[in-house]
Subunit: 254 residues, 2 copies
Amino acid sequence: MTGKLFIVGTGPGNPGQMTPEAQDAIAVATEFFGYAPYLDRLHLRADQRRIASDNREELDRASAALMRASAGVDVCVVSGGDPGIFAMAAAVCEAIDNGPEAWRQVDLTITPGVTAMLAVAARIGAPLGHDFCAMSLSDNLKPWEVITKRLRLAAEAGLVIALYNPISKARPWQLGKAFDILREVLPPRVPVIFGRAAGRPDEHIAVMPLGEADADRADMATCVIIGSPETRIVARSGKPDLVYTPRSFTGDRN
Amino acid sequence: MTGKLFIVGTGPGNPGQMTPEAQDAIAVATEFFGYAPYLDRLHLRADQRRIASDNREELDRASAALMRASAGVDVCVVSGGDPGIFAMAAAVCEAIDNGPEAWRQVDLTITPGVTAMLAVAARIGAPLGHDFCAMSLSDNLKPWEVITKRLRLAAEAGLVIALYNPISKARPWQLGKAFDILREVLPPRVPVIFGRAAGRPDEHIAVMPLGEADADRADMATCVIIGSPETRIVARSGKPDLVYTPRSFTGDRN
């Protein structure tokens, strides 16, 4: 008999933002596969075993978890945020797609979670309050030309753009280039939000106009949200500005 | 002194998918503003008062809540899913933007939640596993021409498309027309997911190719996810198909 395979999202890192459903799944499983910093968020019992791997090894991790579940072990694959957004659920599906027939019979449960862009948005107002897109800026798994085409079309469509994986040591120039491309399409006043570690003690959220947006503000843990021409800023004396995208379309592109 | 104003997301409706943070906010507030079916999800105490309003009255509801918070009451505005995604956070920001100065001083806390597309995606695999967009199909607050332009550009960009508010009694033809537009850009084999009440007892999830997608499958409570040319289906004998969008771009457009 196959074991259970849970894929859980821990949310952005604040325990108050992890769902009870994810907590229940964690209580059931006995082996935990994930990137070490995500596994560090769990409070495991003595009978629960952790198998940490590097951030880049998603497919190997997925295969290892499927092998164990297939052998009858109740296994949990741990993602930050939501496992379905640039995270482990796609890697596990891919491993099943290309793996042995037995893996298709594994009892699979995916528990959704609060993904980074939602946590960042909640801290600053409602920048994702109307049509938006979410894109990974990593060119490890797709050509840079595909990314630039998508950025351009998304901006032309008037979508707010949430960028995951904006920058890393191995990918230092892509975010700056992305801002350059967006500046060709969008007005310079459009707000850009740099949201780091939203909801956690080391949270840092900054807003600046696209015309002045500086890629150095971001690191691997930052979600960058670029407003649309509709996105507005509400100044509040003594409090941080609110940034929101109205529910109604005004057609204002000045 | 101003009261607190919480804007909470209850998640898709399954209590296991509401965050502890949202639960804590609900415990603090004494007046609850929301669409009646969302308020029905809460277990309120005798000292907590509910003020239900209709689905279409977001701005009036936001203003009423701000007025009470401004008067010193701890208030909670209740959304389904995540309050920042086609929901109450943008309406409250808009009311603050256009309201009296005192409303800017209200102590505002937004708690993020699991939005419908994440819950639907988790039930079927990982259709949002790579770049995607979320759009409201309602033409109540934006012109239909803006919607069609966005659909076309999103499909040309190769984004998976999650549609909120796909259909209603007052908007019966828009989803069918959206499928027609997408069929001009996307191959007919692209999977379309109709996800209704994901994670709830009355859940219904169906998948069909875009070439055969029938708008009658959707109602007001459905989130419709249209795959990209990259999106794949994994057949599993005795279990529902998995649908996922791989992390890598293959360029396959057949």
